[in-house]
């Protein structure tokens, strides 16, 4: 039964991804084609230059040849087909991860393949936001349970107010302040990036990464864990009001065991979902955060490609983050269905 649900949900996700890619292709078709045309012009110009230096051809021949090459490339990239067909081919290309070549940006190895540029950044983004999310959730669980234990009391109220204070605070702004304070006033942390230059070798390499990771993660946790604690409090609070908790307490089971054994067990599925969802939201919502810390992840790639107006990288980045986001949503549903047997699998939504 569960496997049926898994397959259904995965297919659903894939279909949505394909639809979205089609929408993006249609929306941004003009822009992409402009870039491709510019790239073709550049390539043809290079070829003509190479031929003219050899000195064998007359100017007229060169002209004709350049026209021929242009027609050849236009056909190669399907630019002579009707609009609809172009959109479809672009969408299919994107779905198959054929993002094309970048105009300016290069990967660490100097490649201009957009896929390679993006794949390079994904693990870094996951490292940053994953670490922050793990710390977030652990802190959130500890504080959330404390809050739920004595709802409405000083500690609960204080932390709730803190939740609301950071509610509308842009994480990148806090990042700027943290950099100003911890990097330029008391010089404790590096100003950004992922490694020192040159990066140290061996074990020190990892320590160096950790050192660079500390400040951004600290910022993310400061912004994030209040909200996490608030949600966990609400989840645990509604569980704590159940009868079986009362009966457990009446039987004289120690409070710690009631909280962590009984209550947290029942509250686990929504907490896990929430943790994953928060990771998803913070990755998609906090992408600009990376560029403040010059963390070379996917968010920073958005920044760079916007600054240098490198459209293919921008589009590739968008398609890939959409894919990741949908993946996350699917995994979320699957885990939820797995953890909570009360969810009717295969039933109507």
């Amino acid at each position: 039964m569960y496997w049926k649900y898994v397959i259904k949900r995965v297919i659903n996700g894939i279909v949505i991804y394909i639809i979205l890619i089609f929408i993006f292709s249609a929306l941004f078709n003009m822009q992409m084609e402009q870039t491709v045309r510019a790239q073709i012009d550049e390539v043809v110009k290079g070829e003509v230059m190479a031929q003219s230096t050899s000195g064998k051809w007359t100017p007229e021949q060169l002209m004709n040849w350049s026209k021929e090459r242009k027609v050849y490339y236009t056909e190669l990239y399907n630019l002579n087909k009707p609009v609809f067909e172009r959109i479809v081919t672009r969408a299919v290309d994107t779905i198959l991860f054929r993002y094309g070549k970048s105009t300016i940006i290069k990967s660490a190895f100097g490649e201009r393949d957009v896929v390679k540029i993006i794949f390079e950044t994904v693990p870094r983004t996951l490292l940053l936001f994953g670490t922050a999310a793990i710390i977030d959730v652990i802190l959130g669980i500890l504080i959330g349970i404390k809050k739920a234990q004595k709802p409405g009391k000083g500690f609960d109220k204080g932390t709730s107010i803190a939740t609301m204070i950071v509610f509308g605070m842009p994480s990148w702004w806090l990042g700027m302040l943290m950099i100003m304070f911890f990097v330029y006033i008391i010089k404790v942390f590096p100003s950004g990036g992922m490694h020192s230059t040159p990066p140290p070798a061996g074990f020190m390499y990892h320590l160096d990464t950790l050192w660079h990771l500390t400040l951004p993660v600290l910022t993310l946790v400061i912004i994030g864990f209040w909200g996490r604690a608030f949600l966990i409090r609400n989840i645990v609070l509604s569980v704590l009001q159940d009868d079986y908790i009362m009966s457990a307490r009446a039987r004289g089971i120690p409070e710690r065991k009631v909280l962590f054994g009984h209550a947290l067990r029942t509250a686990a599925p929504p907490i896990v979902t929430m943790a994953l969802l928060s990771l998803l939201v913070s990755v998609s919502g906090g992408i600009l955060f990376e560029s403040i810390f010059s963390w070379p992840g996917m968010g920073n790639l958005y920044w760079i490609s916007v600054e240098q107006s490198d459209i293919p990288v921008l589009m590739g980045d968008l398609s890939f983050s959409t894919g990741l986001y949908i993946c996350g949503l699917v995994i979320l549903d699957l885990i939820y269905g797995f953890l909570d047997p009360r969810i009717k699998v295969g039933g109507k939504a």
């Binding site: 107010i161 509610f167 509308g168 006033i185 986001y325």
Partner: protein
């Protein structure tokens, strides 16, 4: 619904709301923002902030990167305030057809840290020669500059000591400063104003001691033709502190900028939240009410929209289409409405089965009438909470887009000020008064709506109330 009923339900609601303290605080902050918005024309020191924020000439008389004025309360050394000296003593002498006009300004200097510049502004017509002399309380006199003025009707001639008198100040310095110290600085790298207001002694370049007292600045202007005129001679003293929030590296008054950002933040937040939540409510109710395959189809469409990562799409759309602020709001509404659909749909499914809906249907009411007249008014109050909680998100999204430099360049928003601060090196140079206020405003506005939203949530969903 009759007016009386409405008033009754509002007062009932207010009685509930009054009990939630945090909600009242949020409401208080919101009202404060509204007041600031209404009195912006009175409060803003620079009335043309909204239209000329990016016009460098408008801000030319201000000091660059000046501290907020209240820094003087906390600092042991007092920074010079900015001021404009408007009423010089005027004397006129005639030499045949030539006239010599002398304008004498008195400047009482009682600070520890010198102003950043002295700017003489002259309006008039025709050509003139001008000598600027600077007399210090200790009797030293410095000839600052002599320049030829070519004035046109309506234009303003500006003579900046900081730009034009480096050489003269350096020569003045040479009389007192040791040779070793002199060698450390180039003629072009000194700050004339800092030297002019320092005690004439050794080390005045490196560790200047302030010379307090009355300074006299004299502008002698020689007019050669009888039809030439001079008017409105002013001496601007750009200090080291300026206004409530200081100035940025482009000499703009940050208080005016932050004040101008309020209306855009409120507009973006409220409009986006109200429109998108309303769309979500209508969509959810229609989907629940119609049921069957129409419901399924609408849910599929909802799923597609719900799977879009919002900020990346916003960034790419802004980068490609370069939208104005109105189009940006529209784009945000298009992708933002999904948040409330699920809860609204489940509520709609419940309400749909109520007997009064059945009765209305039996009376022959159309679907349209049932949905908009009977179901949606019941759900609207519950959507207020999500509206309030949507607002901060919308403001932050706009700020993020602006931070990337993709915002609407015809307006002033907090995000754009932060963009300028970030690219203008405020973080590296520690210009905290450029970074903190706009971001803090975003945070405070978000906080106020969070307070209101959570309070509404508490009232409307009593399940989460603490027992």
């Amino acid at each position: 619904m009759k007016l009386k009923d409405l008033r009754g339900s509002i007062s009932e609601f207010w009685n509930e709301f009054r009990k939630v303290k945090s909600g009242l605080v949020g409401l208080g902050i919101f009202v404060f923002f509204l007041l600031l918005l209404i009195f912006e024309p009175v409060l803003a020191p620079f009335s043309e902030t909204n239209t000329r924020w990016r016009d460098i000439s408008y801000w030319d008389d201000n000091p660059q990167s000046a501290y907020p004025i209240w820094v003087n309360f906390f600092s042991a050394k007092k920074y010079a305030k900015s001021s404009v000296l408007k009423d010089p003593q005027v004397s006129e002498e005639a030499f045949g057809t030539n006239r010599m006009m002398t304008y004498t300004f008195e400047y009482d200097y009682q600070y520890d840290i010198a102003p950043s510049d002295l700017i003489l502004k002259i309006q008039g017509t025709g050509a003139a020669m001008m000598d600027l002399t600077f007399t210090r309380p200790d009797g030293e006199t410095v000839y600052l500059t002599s320049s030829n003025l070519k004035m046109v009707e309506g234009g303003v001639s500006r003579i900046s000591v900081d730009k034009g008198s480096k050489s003269e100040a350096y020569d003045f310095l040479g009389g007192f400063e040791s040779r070793d110290n002199m060698r450390k600085f180039q003629r072009s790298s000194i700050k004339p104003a800092a030297i002019l207001f320092a005690k004439a002694q050794e080390n005045m370049l490196i560790d200047p001691e302030p010379l307090k007292g009355k300074y006299t600045i004299q502008a002698a202007i020689l007019l050669q033709r009888p039809e030439d005129t001079i008017s409105n001679v002013e001496l601007v003293v750009p200090g080291r502190v300026f206004g409530l929030l200081g100035t940025d590296a482009f000499k703009r008054d940050l208080f005016s900028g932050v004040l101008a950002g309020i209306k855009w933040a409120l507009l973006i937040g409220l409009l986006t939240a109200i429109v998108s939540v309303m769309v979500g409510v209508i969509y959810g109710v229609i989907s629940a009410y119609l049921g069957g395959w129409k419901d399924s189809a609408m849910q599929r469409v909802f799923e597609v929209f719900n799977s879009i990562p919002l900020l990346p799409v916003l960034i790419v759309m802004s980068a490609v289409f370069k939208p104005s602020i109105w189009n940006l709001i529209l784009i945000m509404c298009i992708f933002y409405w999904t948040g409330s659909v699920k809860t609204v749909r489940s509520m709609g499914l419940q309400i749909k089965e109520e007997t009064f809906i059945e009765a209305t249907r039996a009376l022959g009411a159309s679907n349209f009438r049932i949905i908009f007249k009977h179901i949606i008014p019941l759900i609207i109050p519950y959507s207020f909470a999500s509206m309030a909680l949507f607002i901060p998100g919308a403001i932050v999204y706009e700020a993020s887009i602006s931070l990337l430099g993709l915002g609407d360049a015809t307006i002033v928003t907090w995000g754009q000020i932060l963009r300028d601060a970030y690219t203008g090196g405020a973080v590296i140079n520690g210009i905290w008064w450029w970074v903190i206020p706009p971001g803090l405003m975003i945070a405070i506005m978000g906080m106020s709506f969070a307070f209101i939203g959570f309070a509404l949530d508490k009232i409307l969903h009593p399940k989460l109330r603490t027992r």
